[in-house]
């Protein structure tokens, strides 16, 4: 009897807010690992057109001949898309629960944070910041992957696509805004994901926050270096 009750309780707990945010943490982790790999690829631009285009071409050859041409890339794409959808679904479900837990009619007349404003800002903008990042990802894929949006001219060479685009100031500006949004999202997100997965322990919080700060800053800066180098003519 007791065991069957517990089994029922366990399956209920799979729908709990803790389970939802764990799904968010794991999928967010996958996306962060992808970002790091993506950033590494971007920095290849400093090796010149040949190195960059070779790298980009080689991604399609991973696992050959075990996998068909582009097979590994499609596996990565499917995993990333699934992660993104699960991440967004969990975010939406948690948002809806929070909304219900304190409806608009019950909002405080005066609201003040008891924490430092910058950290609070990062935590507070997770939901809308996430939406902005998602919209940016669509824009970014249309721009540099499918080349449907081609400011500065479309090209078959990934290197040329990159250089053509980032010679225009407003393209760089749009990426700057998006990457700052990504940076803020990761600043709270990385800490939150680690805490959610149970890594936070007494005396460890500062270290975890430091890791989140360093990784978020490294990703933001690492992604911004190529566009700005192109804009200022260091890469052409």
């Amino acid at each position: 009897m007791a065991n069957s009750t517990l089994t029922k309780q366990r399956s209920a707990a799979l729908q709990s807010s803790v389970a939802l945010k764990s799904a968010m943490a794991v999928t967010g982790g996958i996306l962060v690992l992808f970002l790091i790999a993506h950033m590494y690829g971007n920095l290849m631009v400093f090796g010149g057109q040949e190195a960059f285009d070779d790298y980009s071409h080689h991604i399609r050859e991973i696992g050959e001949p075990m996998l068909p041409h582009g097979g590994a890339l499609w596996i990565i794409r499917v995993v990333l898309l699934a992660s993104l959808l699960i991440h967004a679904y969990a975010a939406f479900a948690l948002w809806a629960r929070a909304k219900h837990a304190r409806p608009a009619a019950q909002r405080y007349v005066v609201r003040k944070s008891a924490q430092s404003p910058s950290r609070r800002y990062a935590a507070q903008t997770m939901r809308w910041g996430g939406v902005i990042v998602a919209l940016f990802v669509i824009y970014h894929i249309l721009h540099l992957t499918t080349n449907h949006i081609a400011p500065g001219g479309a090209s078959d060479s990934p290197y040329e696509r990159l250089v053509n685009g980032f010679q225009i100031w407003w393209v760089v500006l749009s990426y700057l805004i998006a990457l700052l949004a990504v940076g803020y999202h990761l600043w709270h997100g990385i800490f939150s994901a680690l805490a959610t997965l149970g890594v936070n322990k007494a005396g460890r919080e500062r270290a975890l926050r430091l890791i989140a700060t360093v990784v978020a800053a490294a990703i933001t800066v690492g992604f911004l270096v190529p566009p700005f180098s192109i804009l200022f003519g260091l890469v052409s």
């Binding site: 517990l6 309780q9 707990a13 709990s16 389970a19 909002r107 805490a195 149970g198």
Partner: protein, 249 residues
Amino acid sequence: MNITLRVWRQKSRDVEGRMVTYEIEDVSPDMSFLEMLDVLNEKLTLQGEEPVAFDHDCREGICGACGVVIDGVAHGPETTTTCQLHMRSFSDGDVITVEPWRATAFPVVKDLVVDRGAFDRIIQAGGYISAPTGTAPDAHAMPVPKSDADRAFDAATCIGCGACVAACPNASGMLFTAAKVTHLGMLPQGQPEREARVVKMVNQHDEEEFGGCTNIGECAAVCPKGIPLDTISQLNRDLLGSLTSASSE
């Protein structure tokens, strides 16, 4: 000190409430916040008006009965309970806004009093140990490492005031639940029911319509007992462990 108070007035659970402004003169800086409310209530009673209802009991900061949101912060500008907050934390001429805890799980009963029965039901779901009663066991019969005992004790200092829920942008009760899970989970007596406890308590927490935790940390920042945010991480670890373990049945 002269203080202008904006207080939430609500006759009963189903009646709509509103903010009402009162002027209070000759407030001593040595008064506690609740004593200042007492002065207001005496004045209101003499005027034939209904006094402002608020929860309070020990007025020593140990029972967890009192608690209101003062100028947007649960328990006000000092990290303590409302009863231990003194008027010296404010200045002459201040306009102070006083609101009840706001959460679906904590419905307003009257004015500043909310029903925190949801916390009791979370405890009933698993916040206890099933132990045979009798004479107290010898203190050294069951050794507990000092660091574990300290952490259990720190978590056990939670007085269930509900400030964590009031401060949380998601109206989550996770810090309260985590304090209880950590308190019992650190001690040998809590081990037999550890996996079942966290599952039942988290389910009850969600059933009471609290929001989910997003690790913002407002709860720990206002907690009068300093319950650390990492207790929530410990709860998560326990729950994920319980959900993934097959051998526990």
